[in-house]
């Protein structure tokens, strides 16, 4: 489904979907989304870990 050519004659850009700019733009958006979601996911993980640590400290007798 992704191939942009059926023969190697006169081929220039030969990667999948090279002839479908909208698909390439969609891929670009997905890459950006993954990068942003990684940072958001790390922040969430940090918030949870720090909260868990704070709770543990409260429960630990002095």
């Amino acid at each position: 489904m992704g191939t942009s050519f059926l023969s190697w004659d006169n081929v220039s850009a030969y990667f999948m979907f090279a002839d479908k700019p909208l698909v390439l733009i969609l891929f670009t958006i997905v890459v950006g989304f993954i990068c942003i979601s990684l940072i958001m996911s790390i922040k969430q993980h940090e918030d949870k870990a720090f909260q868990r640590h704070a709770n543990n400290q409260k429960m630990t007798p002095n």
């Binding site: 220039s12 891929f27 922040k43 940090e46 870990a49 640590h53």
Partner: protein, 451 residues
Amino acid sequence: MSTETPTLESLSALVQSQQAVLDMHQSMNMEVFYWWCTALMLMIHAGFLAYEMGASRGKNALAAGIKNILALAMIIPVFYLVGWWIYLSFTTGLIPTSVSEALPWSTSMGPKLDEMGTGIFWAAFALFGATTGSILSGAVIERIRVSAFLILTVLVGGVVWILGASWGWHPEGWLLTEWGYHDVGASGVVHAIAGFFTLGVLINLGPRKGKFIKGIAQTIAPHSLPMTLIGLMMIIFGFFGFLGGCIIFNTGETGWTTIYNTPTNLSAFAFNTLMGFSGGIIGCYFATRDPFWTMSGGLVGIISVAAGLDIYDPALAFIVASVTGVGAVKFAQLLERYGIDDAVGAVAVHGFSGIAALLFVGIFSNGTPNAEGLPAITFAGQLVAALVMIALGFIPGYSVSLLLKKLNTLRVPESVEDLGIDEVELLAKPYPEANVPATIQSEVPNKLANI
């Protein structure tokens, strides 16, 4: 064996076919050269990984490592998304010119049979960006949140430095065309920008807990000094790929040129890189007698001569590097006096040395011609560019880290800093058996004793 007499037409066809073979091999050699430069640059990141983990205390060693790995993984796609486009589009300043072939959905930004070079140049530049981002990494260890660090490292490694490169490290960049800027080995566009970006972040991040007691700087010892020394040497090894990637492998009759299209060759780079390396080590050793700074001196030395690698006399490169080595240590001491905790001396090693490199080129190479039609190298031009690099690094570093600080997302909580980020966030220990006492007698049988 053919007995046909060659005709002018047959000889012409033969020459053309041989020329086509030669052209193809030149293009392939160019790709091979940058391929291995890029591979060597990955050694810089192996080095950063080792020396940042070593420079951390044991309780934060893995946190230092994981943020370094994630920085590399994030800067590469971000550089694919925007970096290459910024480099080619912002040569005149802050208003982009349209360079549609550098956009990530362009067919030029992918496998293409009739376009050798784009991908391999993009890769080398992506690794330059990753190096820039990693310079920030070491300075902020043991107290920055990984999420905040990633935002900052992507900003400097994927956006800010490449804007500086577009201005000063591009044959049409305005710093070159208007001021004759000379920075062949990226002392300014990589090191100075990263160093002063880091300074901006450190001001808002604050020092590690316990670094300053009653205003007096304390030593927070690295948990593995040997690992930091080996890491630094790995960075220096990788810099041969970095500096190789700074030189232009031209096809045709031109041969090697700088990124400014002036003639040079790898011999010039070899002379001055090695002499700078040695001079920097000696300068830092004179100033400190400290193992970490002595090894950092190699990096200081290379950075201090990188801007003029093509035009220095090797002995002059050695002197420049030695002097900068001493200066970098003094600059680091000055920062400490102002309450700045730079855990690995990144601002001094990269920021100070990068700026010194630009100014030394202005002092010693004043009047040296650039490519035809461009202004010559001058001290004034180098000074203006140095100020631009400082501002370009510092302003976004300070502004964005200030915003993160206001949102309370820049630094880990104090109690987490006390216990260590590894245990709280990563739920892992770098040396889980560290507290197991060594046994006097090994349980492993001694095979040699039974022979």
